[in-house]
């Protein structure tokens, strides 16, 4: 097991480094300067600005410094458009918000999705099953950026039950709509995967054996069927996590939560390269780390995998 984790780390670390270097180089190709204004800047001022931000040094030196400070000190440097703030400040301000509703979205997607899928499979071809299939098929075409306006239209503008934006330090009523909007389509996918793999497992020989020896139904399902049925779900958690991280950008922007996605889009529109770079790397690192976690969890659960 340890050697398996080490081998996976051996892949993960270079991937992350490649991502950092690649993003940095991409930024170098960007035409124009982040300091350019419509009226132009005197040359002396520009030279000073470039010295201040270290842009007058050669490319390889800046890249080495950047990679070094990111890797060793988690320091993403200063923001180009907010002179008094560093990228770290921006991340420290926005990330807890995104993390809060992102965590709950993940929990909701997994718990509701697995429950729905498992119940649908156990009550195969019943009204409940058809309802669950209907919900999951419907939710498939409702990605976060479609769910968000629909939810606000219904629960904020028509019913007036919940606020349609803002955060207020994460009070419950401000968190509900973002969580629903972000989790719906993943919940649907998880439910679909659980249902089909549960159906397979319930028809398997070992489940029949368990039933035949007279175990009560709930024990058959919880002790024998659920674990193997969840394997495909576990391997879907990686893509789901990536999707949710990406989706959080829409949620942050649409609900004005003050989360990290809002900074990301504003930085993208203002060409604040260091902020874009920093957030890309942060999310890249999270993605790679989570995929590693999923792979290890999978190897741990699935007895058929030899590592």
């Amino acid at each position: 097991m340890t050697s398996y984790i080490l081998r996976r780390l051996l892949v993960a670390v270079p991937t992350l480094l490649a991502l950092i270097v690649l993003s940095f180089l991409l930024m170098e190709f960007a035409p124009g300067s982040p300091f350019a204004t419509e009226r132009g800047i005197p040359e002396a001022v520009m030279a000073n600005l470039e010295r201040e931000y270290g842009l007058d040094r050669p490319l390889w030196e800046r890249m080495a410094t950047y990679v070094w400070s990111v890797v060793t000190q988690f320091d993403f440097g200063p923001s180009f458009t907010f002179p008094d703030r560093s990228v770290n400040d921006i991340i420290a301000q926005g990330f807890p918000v995104t993390l809060t509703y992102g965590f709950w979205s993940f929990v909701v997607a997994v718990v509701v999705g697995v429950t729905l899928g498992a119940v649908a499979a156990i009550k195969h071809n019943s009204a409940l099953d058809y309802a669950a299939v209907g919900v999951t098929v419907g939710a498939q075409v409702l990605p976060n950026f479609v769910m968000a306006p629909i939810l606000v239209l219904i629960f904020t503008l028509w019913l007036g039950w919940l606020p349609g934006g803002g955060w207020r330090g994460g009070q419950v009523e401000y968190v509900i709509l973002p969580v629903i909007a972000l989790s719906t389509s993943y919940m649907a996918s998880i439910a679909r995967i659980t249902r089909s793999s549960m159906l397979d497992v319930l028809n398997a020989g070992f489940v029949r054996t368990a039933r035949a020896k007279g175990l009560p139904a709930h024990r058959v399902i919880l002790r024998h069927a659920l674990k193997p049925a969840l394997l495909p779900v576990v391997s879907y958690l990686g893509p789901a996590f990536v999707g949710m991280i990406t989706g959080s950008v829409v949620i942050d922007v649409f609900f004005s939560t003050g989360g990290i996605g809002q900074f990301f889009v504003n930085a993208a529109l203002a060409r604040d390269y260091s902020v874009i770079l920093g957030i890309t790397i942060l999310f890249g690192a999270l993605t790679i780390f989570f995929n590693l976690l999923v792979d290890v969890a999978y190897a741990w659960i699935d007895p058929k995998i030899r590592y």
């Binding site: 993003s23 190709f29 098929v137 950026f145 990406t246 950008v249 829409v250 874009i276 890309t280």
Partner: protein, 302 residues
Amino acid sequence: MADATIDTAGLPQGKARSLWADARRRFLRNRAAMASAVVLVLVLLFAAFGQYLNQWSNEEIDWEMLGMIPEIGGPSLSNGHYFGVDETGRDLFQRTVQGTRISLAVGIVGALIAVLVGTAYGAVAGYVGGRTDNVMMRFVDLMMSIPYMFVLILLLVIFSRSIVMLFVGIGLISWLDMARIARGQTLSIKNADYVEAARAIGVSGGTIIRRHIVPNLLGVIIVYATLLVPQMIIFESFISFLGLGVQEPSTSWGALINQGAANMRNGTPWMLGFPLFFFVVTLFALFFLGDGLRDALDPKDR
């Protein structure tokens, strides 16, 4: 031996059904898939000929509406604004036609790139095998572990936000899954007897891939390509929803939904409703079509 014939008198008569004829029969019997096909044809017709259906253009501003859009800008048959007007007084029907064209184009181009690049890549990796396969698939793994949406946004910011850049970005990532699927299928095909026979009579590797492997991958590829189209549409709409994709005066479903959502507090729900309707209905139809094709083409799933 030239006059030796096989006696067919005792065998059942009639034309043998090919795999494709079988698939067509199964597909035509699938009501949900057929209904989806009809819906998709209607959407395509809407995109192709919608611009001739009323007297407005997608750029023209209806000055009579300005300032009173929530009151008089709604859908109306009498003034020709079937879907109402958008927040700047342009005809929403024509804007939706324009957005439908771009969104469908993105979906189709993305799926095409995936089919061409992904199939070739996966088939070669799977057929050659060994170290080449290992290196090629590790590269795919590496690409897949990158949060591509952020990298794409980075690209869009750097190389200006244009539709071409959007296509390039989508092309860069859409083929990855397809490559994996094509490789997996190739691995099972390449040990088949007919491939071995071809190899035994000295057919070259490239020809075997073209003549024997790829045609046998087609079923899986068609199914997956159909399911890729909605994914690509969602992908593009996501970026356009954030304002980072297609730029004014061009538009897509995502951009229209975004504008509708931004204006829904002003009492103009049609601006959200119509683009959303087209988005949801088309995606629904594409998913059902993909499912129907899978049931028709995948012999395992019966």
